[in-house]
């Protein structure tokens, strides 16, 4: 398993053909208390960079872009009742959606954990 990061603060964890996507701890911290998350429906076709989900805090709404292309396997249903999961465990229980990857090579353009940490440190 390996985890990659985008400049827009999404993370994607790849396990074979299946990848899980969420937003980073840094992003969750910047947004503040998350009050609503809208995740994509199963079967939705996504192309890298598409708006895939929406995350809302009290005073901001942000689009979440998919870091890689693929077909949505499931959205995280737990977020509907408990959007606070994104604040409590953004890079674990607070994941947004899973998808089957179409093209592994897209991952090469993403940052690894160290590079992302360095990127955030500069912000």
């Amino acid at each position: 398993m390996s985890r990659y990061f985008t400049q827009e603060h999404e993370w994607i964890e790849v396990d074979g053909e299946v990848a899980t996507v969420g937003i980073t701890e840094y992003a969750a911290g910047q947004l503040g208390d998350i009050v609503f998350v809208d995740v994509p429906e199963e079967g939705k076709q996504l192309t890298k960079g598409d708006d895939a989900a929406v995350v809302e805090s009290v005073k901001a709404a942000s689009d979440v872009y998919t870091p890689a292309s693929g077909t949505v396997l499931e959205g995280n249903a737990a977020l509907a009742d408990n959007p606070a999961l994104v604040n409590e465990d953004p890079e674990g229980e607070g994941w947004f959606f899973k998808l089957t990857l179409r093209d592994d090579s897209e991952l090469e353009e993403l940052m690894d954990e160290d590079k992302y940490a360095a990127y955030v440190a500069r912000l």
């Binding site: 009050v35 609503f36 809302e56 005073k59 901001a60 709404a61």
Partner: protein, 452 residues
């Protein structure tokens, strides 16, 4: 100038503090070509309060106020008696001169009022939730159509012929720019609403069916049947109520399967005001709330655990969502919503039902009397406080002649549907609690004379 507190000495002192030698120095960024030497040319200078009052009173006197004559106009705006305390309360400066409650700690008055308003409207319309109001009924109606598009991801809206023609006109204007497809039609001058034809038009592409209740001719459609037909193809039923007092007598649309109920709240508290400002009502089921347009007030607690209210779910709105907002609306009709809410609180369940009963009874008496005028026929089987008469001749000139005789008789369908010959003889008559027996007699007598 009575509204400007600064004295010449103040102005000089302040310019000195700023470090500017004249007021012109503060307008230095205005390009030379756009600078004026003095006041805008071609306009008069300031006037005393007395002079302004004289000027506007003279203009007001050129109008025939509804209360000064026998009066029977409706079609989307109704004359009801508004208790004196309503106008007194909405003129309190704390309501009148407050802003949108963005600082909830010092706006609990407005916020609690909005929460009460939302709760009253939701109950009255038979829905789970209502927003803090819209501009008016016509814009609320269009917003409901776009909401149905977002919810169903379909673009065809089917309108009943009984929807107010101005509301249809607004939707048509907007749809030209948004790509929504509208299927609209005129009403027919018959006793029945067009429920069957409407149901026939509903298909798999339909996002919503829009039905006015009671309709523009005062008839009452069978909402439940239409709702069932709409739901069978996953379309929404939007019910439009232009006379909310009716809901004291007839079943709430939300209880008859309507998914979104919109309305014009002008009847309660607001008054006629020549068409505005009015107050749009907007209610829906809880599960659709995130697609709902407009401001919403919600309950919460403060840092000490006391109950309080805030504007909430504001990420739907344009000041945050910018180009992804649910709607272009960024205000509500706060003071009119307050007037509506106070009037409804004064009435309560008991008063609203009594008011509806009086409206209906007076309308029944008037319909019976007017149908006795030679050549005049009552179109409706069922109605609340508004019904349509079929005259033996075009109604429009008749209305003008009756106005010359000091009777405001109703709204001619020729005014609302110009060029529609089949409707030209229709006259829509509204009868509220403000109408007296003498008024009805005056209308009947004048109508008899004019038609003779």
């Amino acid at each position: 100038m009575r509204y400007l507190p600064l004295t010449p000495t103040d102005r000089a002192d302040m310019l000195a503090t700023i470090g500017a030698d004249s007021i012109d120095a503060l307008f230095v960024d205005v390009p030379e070509s756009a600078r004026l030497d003095g006041p805008v040319p071609g306009l008069p200078n300031h006037a005393s309060e007395l002079a302004v009052e004289r000027h506007l009173s003279a203009l007001a006197a050129k109008n025939v106020a509804a209360g000064s004559v026998p009066f029977f106009l409706g079609c989307g705006a109704y004359r009801h008696h508004v208790p004196a305390s309503v106008d007194h309360l909405i003129q309190r400066g704390e309501y009148l001169t407050a802003y949108t409650p963005y600082q909830p700690e010092i706006a609990q008055g407005t916020l609690q009022m909005l929460f009460e308003f939302q709760s009253q409207v939701a109950r009255m319309l038979g829905c789970d939730v209502a927003n803090a109001s819209m501009y008016d009924g016509s814009t609320a109606c269009w917003e409901a159509v776009t909401m149905a598009r977002r919810v169903t991801r379909k673009v065809k809206a089917v309108f009943s012929g009984g929807v107010h023609p101005h509301y249809v006109s607004v939707a048509k204007t907007m749809a030209k720019f948004t790509g929504d497809v509208l299927d609209t039609t005129q009403p027919w001058l018959v006793a029945e609403t067009d429920d069957d034809r409407l149901i026939e038009k509903i298909d798999a592409d339909t996002s919503c069916v829009v039905v006015q209740y009671p309709d523009i001719l005062g008839r009452i459609p069978d909402l439940q049947r239409i709702a069932d037909a709409a739901h069978a193809v996953k379309a929404l039923l939007i019910a439009v109520v232009t006379e909310p007092v009716a809901l004291g007598a007839i079943e709430a649309p939300g209880n008859l399967g309507a998914d979104i109920v919109v309305g014009e709240g002008q009847s309660l508290g607001v008054g006629l005001q020549f068409g505005g400002p009015y107050v749009g009502l907007f209610a829906c089921s809880e599960k659709l709330v995130r697609q709902m347009p407009g401001r919403l007030c919600g309950e919460t607690v403060d840092a000490e655990g006391k109950r309080g209210f805030v504007l909430t779910l504001s990420t739907r709105e344009q000041h945050i969502r910018r180009e992804k907002a649910t709607s272009n609306i960024c205000t509500n009709s706060g003071l009119c919503a307050l007037a509506f809410s106070i009037h409804l609180t004064l009435l309560g369940e008991k008063g609203l039902r009594q008011l509806a009963e009086v409206n209906h009874a007076k309308a029944c008496a008037a319909a019976e009397r007017l149908a006795q005028v030679p050549g005049v026929e009552l179109v409706n089987d069922s109605f609340f406080n508004e019904f349509t008469l079929k005259l033996p001749t075009e109604a429009r000139p008749v209305v003008r002649e009756l106005a010359d005789r000091g009777v405001l008789a109703g709204v001619s369908l020729g005014r609302l549907y110009p060029g529609e010959d089949g409707l030209a003889n229709g006259l829509v008559v509204a009868v509220t609690e403000t109408v007296t027996e003498e008024d009805i007699e005056a209308l009947a007598a004048a109508l008899t004379e004019v038609l003779a």
